[in-house]
Amino acid sequence: MSARSLFIPLTLFLVLGFLIGPFLIIVAASFSGGETLAFPPQGFSLRWILKVFTVESFRASFGMSMFLAIGGTAAALMLGIPASYALSRYKLPGAEIVRTVVSAPIIVPGIIVGLALLRYIVVPFQVGITPALFLAHTALVLPYAVRVVSASLDNLRSDIEEAAVLLGSSRLGAFFRVVMPNIRGGILSAFILGFVTSFNQVPVSLFLSGPGVRTLPIDMIAYMEIVFDPSVAALSSLLAFLSIGIVFAAERFLGFSRYV
């Protein structure tokens, strides 16, 4: 084989290795039998995986992260579905501005969003830690909700709503009877995307977490500063497999990639 024909497979291999390598190292490290986070792992054991479930703070912060991911995404959808509907069905003045503002949290770095929320909302208005995190996660998920739901609304004919009205339905009834069932896939996709985005969020949560209230990623950073054992690797692996499982199921049953 010439050097030329080796170039492409070699590049491909290196890029894939770069992308998947760290993940494989973490997974390997979480089955380590040793006392510290290290690679290659020393021996094989499940004890760090089992330890994850016994750490009290992990359980509390996991609960917090689940609450934010589910609650924040649900709140973002409740705001985002009507917003998407208005943006896609009516020619509103300033619709493009609204679209841009709604998408801002995707473009603006999280660290700036976090700092801004802390400095101009949380501190002056004395917002509690949990409400602050909830608001922040809702805002961060909103752009995904609007984008994904808009995409499925744009693919749906609007005359079916008029048809429903002429058959005796109210305007609002038509939305629930013929629009919602047809964008269900888009809404579920937006929910999954929002859930994963919120669950993996670090920079904004870092600013807004406080005494006793932390999200799971922040708690993992805090844990590692004190204890350098493989349980963080074990937890990371568990979370990664959870995410992969959710996205795989979504793709399998909903055709997730059509909407994102």
Binding site: A163, A164, L166, L167, G168, S169, V178
Partner: protein
């Protein structure tokens, strides 16, 4: 069928924002009539239909139906059905559920509902398709589902938006027969919108030709086809040689021309290509184009007063391109136009 109007539009003005789409329209329609709103795109026919359905607010004027003023009655309380051009079937529901949709909203349940849906599907020949989804049906079948969905509601008026335009030639004939049958069996008042004169002529009892938001002419298909009253309608139904008349003479680009026969009193005269006499007459023209259409042959003549289209039976000997022919525009054959615009 009584003579009193069942549906009447009175001084109806419709607008999108500040743009007036339909101005001061008066149109009485009798019960059980099959009326076509015919016109080019942008003439206001669809706008008028949407106003009858209640999908477009009325700027001024009234819509009366069956003795009641429904101008401000919301679309979902009007008992007006609409078959959309795109059919607008609910993609997530089966054919059966599509037809049952409106009946369920009326509160129908159980065997009464089932019987009604089944008979609706049977009447359009789709009873064996009840469990299919709309995406699994052909265009013609989807349209029949849309028709059944509207008809089971027993609407006072059924509106149809370009009902034949999305169908191929064979299905057009089938659907045309179907619509006429439904109309005959149920006696429902039907109004359909079309830009295709052949569709309007074939299907309607009465044709309303519209232009720029106004009614240009109302008449039976025979009236519209044979006796257009304006140059616009004449052009729309295939009179291709149209000239204004001034002082009893035909006004052309090369001055006023005397016509054979008595001086016409109309504002204009219109001839279909086959009304033009070719081979004899006082005028001369050069063959600029010719096309063979099976039964007949069409000629495009260059004449001192512009291009003239003539059509003769194909059994006549053909004239070659460039040949010089005499022809006549016989005034007694022409359709007299009272308005020339």
């Amino acid at each position: 069928m009584s003579d009193a109007p069942y549906l009447s539009l009175e001084k109806l003005t419709l607008a999108y924002g500040d743009t007036v789409a339909v101005a001061n329209l008066d149109l009485p329609i009798r019960k059980g009539e099959l009326v076509a709103l015919l016109g080019p795109s942008g003439c206001g026919k669809t706008t008028t239909m949407r106003a009858i359905a209640g999908l477009l607010p009325v700027k001024s004027g009234h819509v009366r139906l069956d003795g009641a003023d429904i101008t401000r009655v919301p679309a979902n309380k009007r008992a007006v059905g609409l078959v959309f051009q795109s059919y607008a079937l609910f993609p997530h529901l089966s054919v059966y559920e599509n037809v049952a949709f409106g009946l369920k909203l009326k509160g129908m349940r159980g065997t009464g509902l089932d019987a009604k849906v089944r008979s609706g599907l049977t009447s359009v020949g789709l009873s064996s398709f009840a469990n299919r989804k709309p995406a699994e049906l052909s265009g013609g079948q989807q349209q029949r589902v849309a028709l059944a969905r509207s008809m089971v509601m027993e609407p006072k008026v059924l509106l149809l938006d370009e009902p034949l335009s999305n169908l191929d030639a064979r299905l057009r004939l089938e659907m045309r027969t179907e619509l006429q049958r439904v109309q005959k069996e149920t006696g429902v008042t039907m109004i359909f919108v079309t830009h295709d004169q052949a569709e309007a002529l074939a299907l309607a009892d009465r044709i309303v030709v519209m232009k720029n938001g106004k009614i240009e002419q109302i008449g039976s298909p025979e009236d519209i086809y044979n006796r257009p009253t304006s140059s616009f309608v004449a052009d729309f139904v295939g009179f291709e040689n149209i000239f204004p008349i001034e002082q009893g003479k035909m006004k052309t680009s090369s001055g006023l021309i005397d016509l054979s026969g008595p001086a016409p009193s109309a504002a204009g005269l219109a001839w279909r290509p086959r009304m033009v006499t070719l081979g004899s007459g006082p005028f001369r023209g050069t063959v600029r184009g010719t096309s063979f259409a099976g039964d007949s042959r069409e000629y495009l003549l260059d004449t001192p007063f512009g291009p003239i289209k003539a059509e003769v039976e194909a059994s006549q000997p053909a004239h070659a391109l460039g040949s010089d022919l005499s022809f006549d525009l016989p005034a007694e054959k022409a359709a007299p136009l009272s308005r020339f615009a």
